[in-house]
Symmetry: C2
Subunit: 296 residues, 2 copies
């Protein structure tokens, strides 16, 4: 299939590479010329603008952009993807943005005769490179079925979350819970150790008890409990604290729009904001435990 791909950053570039590997023809655009060069070296065709991607022959266009402002800028308006796409061309936005903006863009696409899906991912740059991302997809059943094999070239779990915007809803809800859980594990581990318990023994109890969670049994923030996690390598790599802060900001903003209280979610947002303000936004999000330990 001929696919247009816009946004070749840390996530978009490896995703585009996996589409090429799966045998698709790719037209690509990014503001960063070096990122475009890299994909062209692997067989993609460079295109001058998002508008030109829409005006080309792509049967499907995928975007992977930093935030809602970029998504709206690329899709909407006189130079936007929607205005210039042929009716029937499918649009898939893999960016993580607020559900309200995702629904606004999907509505404009539908009015122009373009099926659209919101399909934010989880799994990080490692999952993007390995093609093992999880896609949380919002849109109609028929559009989901049509997109599924394309998304499967970039990911392992392709989950239909309901109508337009629900991919974003699933992602912000899950990641808000993840932020809360990680801080909860950090507090529980730090408390137990401060009260005299061995960290590994405590994690063992928690992981077989009712405190069990992904942040404890798969991604424990206390150094020495697990190998092959950011806590074992000075909190490098992984999922950056500033990315967690972004997702908690989306969650609290989406909550505000529907007057939904998220009390721990809002405090988790502030705690990551404080961590980022101290200059640690580039560390993996499990490094928040350093705010709770005396010797760090």
């Amino acid at each position: 299939m001929h696919i247009g791909f816009i946004g070749l950053g840390n996530m978009g570039a490896p995703m585009a590479h996996n589409l090429l590997k799966a045998g698709h023809q790719l037209s690509v655009f990014d503001l960063n010329a070096a990122a475009v060069e890299n994909l062209v070296g692997a067989g993609a065709l460079p295109v001058d603008s998002p508008t030109a991607i829409a005006q080309g022959n792509a049967e499907l266009i995928i975007t992977m952009l930093p935030a809602a402002a970029h998504v709206k800028g690329v899709y909407l308006g006189a130079n936007g993807l929607i205005a210039h796409s042929r009716a029937g061309v499918m649009l898939i936005d893999c960016s993580t943005i607020d559900p309200h903006s995702a629904r606004e863009v999907a509505k404009a696409a539908a009015e122009h005769g373009n099926p659209m899906l919101d399909a934010p991912v989880s799994g990080g740059t490692g999952g993007a490179a390995a093609g093992t991302l999880t896609f949380m997809v919002g849109g109609s059943d028929a559009d989901f079925d049509r997109a599924q094999p394309i998304l499967a070239a970039m990911g392992k779990n392709i989950v239909h979350c309901g109508a337009a915007g629900n991919g974003q809803v699933a992602k912000v809800a899950n990641n808000m819970l993840l932020g809360i859980s990680m801080i909860g594990v950090a507090e529980a581990m730090a408390l137990g150790v401060a009260l005299g318990m061995d960290a590994k023994t405590l994690a063992g109890v928690i992981n077989t008890s009712s405190g069990r969670c992904w942040s404890s049994d798969t991604y424990n923030p206390f150094p020495g409990v697990l190998d092959n996690v950011p806590a074992a390598r000075g909190y490098s790599g992984g999922f950056g604290s500033d990315l967690m802060l972004k997702d908690l900001g989306l969650a609290t903003e989406a909550a505000k729009q529907v007057r939904q209280p998220v009390i721990l979610g809002a405090l988790a947002q502030q705690l990551y904001q404080s961590f980022s303000a101290q200059g640690y936004g580039g560390l993996d999000f499990s490094a928040i435990i350093n705010q709770y330990r005396k010797d760090t």
Copy 2:
């Protein structure tokens, strides 16, 4: 073995029954005569006071009491278990109390020549009746090994958490994390549904993603997601909100003693305090989700 058992409440009574079933001889005491009668009907010997239990022939004495004040009252002082126990008689306190008090009592026992373990449980009244409790045990290796077969008559997982007090440390750390996780799941589920997502679909995404936790995949608070949980029966049964509030109080108090910040833990304590103040302390702790839903 001849065992003394003090405290025949909702947890202690079924635990004592399981010791009788395992063939042990039991001397029992409780302030509630009906509770004593019930055990006597099953073959236990009634004794007039904790002091008399200590003065008897029990080789091992188990206590299951509501709070630290009761534990100190029963163990310490001129009429206490420790003052009247023969040297070598093992003392096991299964109450959930703060680690500091547990260590104070264990120290007094050691000075009197009595090995002592703190062994708080999780698993609730159902686990107590079925003999499937988890025991989190603090004390020496040798004492743990000696007590293990006795505890195994009442529980399934007998976990050695380290030296005296560490059973309590494991329990307060785990249950603080549990309280945080439950509120986090409540907020994430309520947010996702308020933003238009189906509760069961959202739980499915969370349970296969990084938000996965016991409070979501085993005990989900949103009605209709799981069968056989309190959310499926009006939040009756289960683990009462006032018991969660007690454990969060122990966690924040223990944290205060070692100047350990527990920011989400403290807020979780306040949220359960607010829930209890509104008259809902008798509902299962997953009912906290009702504070986040418009239609409840």
